[in-house]
Symmetry: C3
Subunit: 355 residues, 3 copies
């Protein structure tokens, strides 16, 4: 079976270490890799627009000497309309050596990987996974701090819906001495499943509504946006919104060696005045993202490997989630897995619980 990366969990700690090492080597010796993918073709299939991510993948492939074919994100693509994701997989496997796909439905990337004869990288499937964002975050932290262990990591903003935050917490939980500070309005607190996972692993964290209060203890400040549309109570939004906008004033009590990350795009949650601060790392993060994508493409094209497997239960449950790929894909079988021995079953495409 071809190795694909749909979820950050598809990568072992060893594989992540190896990607970090490769990315570092590319940064230092770009010429060594300039023809590593000569004659290879990357397909970037963006069935919803995400220009930044798409350009990052394409720039990465060109940095390796390869070619790119692209569905650049217009909504009226004929591959998107009236053709199943599985058929798209069969088709594009004829044209490309590796595929990066963005799709509005949860599980679409998994369906693509299950039907493609080439490696697939999930570049975002609905609100589900976006593993190369997490890889970019990890490389940024590693390059800037020199380590993953013994860090106090603040995550700020919308912790309820922010998938990049959940993935980052998951990935950093693998390292010793990591501590989290969860900074958010009450209505956007970190979900129970994340809190439970941290608790189960005995990883320390605290929750607060005040960014200024948390600031002095942080090694990393990971900012995300607090969106108006997440609030039922618009008055409440007006009250809290300014507390989650990062300004030079709020940085006064921060450590000199703290680093500020953000998955971008920002709207106004970080003042432009912060951009000049040496602690601001969010533009560098873009650059690190490109190198990490280069490393990932190299790994997937170089090392076909067995994918991790878990026992699947077919056709016992039916997924009801409106945005799950099971709702639209022709003749796709329902498939669930059991979470440990919990008796809880989740859809393999969108992770929603069986009822």
């Amino acid at each position: 079976m071809i190795k694909s990366v749909i979820d950050i969990l598809d990568l072992s700690t060893e594989e992540i270490d190896s990607l970090l090492a490769t990315a570092a080597d590319i940064m230092e010796n770009p010429g060594k890799y300039a023809h590593a993918c000569d004659g290879k073709i990357l397909a970037t299939l963006f069935f919803e627009p995400s220009t930044r991510t798409r350009l990052s993948f394409e720039s990465a492939m060109y940095g390796l000497g390869g070619h790119v074919i692209s569905v650049p994100g217009s909504s009226n693509s004929s591959v998107a309309k009236g053709e199943s994701v599985a058929d798209t997989a069969h088709t594009v496997s004829c044209y490309a050596d590796i595929i990066a796909m963005r799709h509005p439905q949860e599980g679409a990337a998994l369906v693509l990987a299950n039907n493609a004869s080439v490696p697939v990288i999930n570049a975002g499937d609905g609100g589900h996974c976006h593993p190369t964002q997490t890889l970019a975050d990890l490389l940024t932290i590693h390059r800037e701090m020199g380590r993953f262990h013994d860090l106090t990591v603040g995550v700020c903003g919308d912790l309820k819906y922010g998938r990049t935050v959940h993935s980052l917490i998951e990935a950093l939980s693998r390292y010793p001495g990591v501590r989290f500070v969860m900074i958010s309005p009450d209505s956007l607190r970190i979900p129970t499943f994340v809190r439970d996972a941290l608790g189960a692993k005995g990883i320390p964290f605290r929750e607060t509504v005040s960014l200024e209060d948390a600031m002095p203890e942080l090694d990393i400040l990971y900012m995300t946006r607090v969106q108006r549309e997440r609030f039922r109570d618009q008055e409440l939004y007006e009250q809290v919104k300014d507390s989650y906008i990062l300004t030079p004033e709020k940085l006064q009590n921060a450590r000199a060696e703290m680093r500020i990350l953000h998955p971008l795009p920002r709207v106004n949650e970080i003042s432009v005045a912060v951009d000049q601060d040496p602690r601001a790392c969010y533009f560098k993060q873009m650059l690190y993202g490109r190198y990490m994508r280069m490393a990932l493409i190299l790994m997937l094209l170089g090392h076909p490997a067995p994918a991790p497997s878990r026992p699947l239960i077919y056709d016992r449950f039916v997924c009801k989630k409106r945005t799950c790929i099971t709702q639209t894909e022709q003749e796709l079988r329902q498939a669930f897995y059991q979470v440990g021995d919990s008796g809880i079953y989740r859809c393999i495409y969108c992770e929603s619980k069986a009822k």
Copy 2:
């Protein structure tokens, strides 16, 4: 004059044989061709979306070491709006060495070819021609069956409007011992002009409404879709639709060496359960399409040749077809040709009859 391919009839039997041989050689020795088009530029101008065809052309060009510039099929392109096809031809000839165009109007590809100073490949002009699809079909049959002669070819579905079917019949009619079985609902039978052409050449065929009835005698089964919107009588559609969906059950009486083709995309006219059948060839057909496009690009870039000519009659008739390029193109002269000595005249752009 530059050689362009607008219609499958622009290629002689010898040229098709040569393309098949080149495609086979590319499949066996891809490295030999990896730099055949170094420094050359293909323009893919898709004025209506057809992602699969576009990606196939682009992948083909990259497999030859060339570059690609693209209008990827968004409807709001400024080349499409307010500029004539002839001016587009002049312009893009400055930027590319060869052009593949898809356009919603019949005859647009011919207008492009008549004004371009580089070879043009028609990647579909309205409901008119799509020669590289036919080339893909031919290579698939040739590779899978080892011959074109002495084949019983079933074509199933919408035989009235399906241009790929008409072109395939036309192309296969050149070879001895070919027989056709036309499988369709009554209201979507093969048009008179195709029947007449077969009759004139003495090529045997029969018509049937039953796919199951035809199955045992077929060497090739070419499936197309029966679309609801083609039926005036929706009750009739409901009655017949399932008969034209290919399932493992319907395949039980088929020959072991039969091959199933489909131009894709499919909607549901072939069950996903058929995909695993060794007779299913529609995904391989995609791959063959890429190799045939590589061979065609090579031929057109390597061998400028005189185009076939036929005497044209200017300005005696006026084409009335709403989707013909003559309706919109600035100062384009009306041009018709006589079909043999029949006294019938057809528009050179859309083939509709002069009244």
Copy 3:
């Protein structure tokens, strides 16, 4: 500071001469430049569609052996939506070595250049500047006439709003012996600021409403379109429109060595019958545009140079122009400059006057 080209005025006469020489050398020795940009990446960011210009840049980059990443002009790009131009600059600087941007707002290219760490070429910012069109015009005149000096240049059509005309007049005003004939309907006469600039430099020009009257004296005829929507009085439009359509008849009194230019696309302001006239140069102009863009990319990638500076006045005035980038860009400071010693101040982004 990185050298960018936002306005034709960013290039000195010496730099333009050097670009003309490089373009000529590329035309004669394309092989010499075929790998000049190996491994380099051009980003073409088209936040409004302009396919012709985009394809020209991309073809230019491929002619130099480089790569291209692209936002091809769909209006629903996520870089365009919700992200500031400054952030786009930071992001795309991570992915590309040089950027060509088209944007609907005046000043967007300047904001991009001020924040990018790579050279920026303005491929059109609203109704403001489009310097590579002017460079294409200049190369066309230079190649076809052998000189810039001692030319009578007719500019015809919409002289009020036509930015390409204003830039061309500005650029040609640098050379001795140049004379202009301004041919337009009364309501679309050349604006006062252009007339004043010519007057201040002592450059001769005359104005006329008759193309036929001007024809015999012209060395260059630069055609632009007279658009219906520019006329408040539709009856007047109907009266004058045919006078500004170039036909073979109107060319009867033109010099044999006159050259006809047009920035394209044309709608119907030049009859197709003129295309075969040896004086018609507008399609060659496309080709020259490609070579000039190659020369410009080479110059900007090869020679980082100090940008010209002028003293800026911050935050004293506020720009009110609806389409200026200052209306939307997050935390962008208002910046104006004084025109000479005139006491007139203009916005550095859109050139509108301070009130």
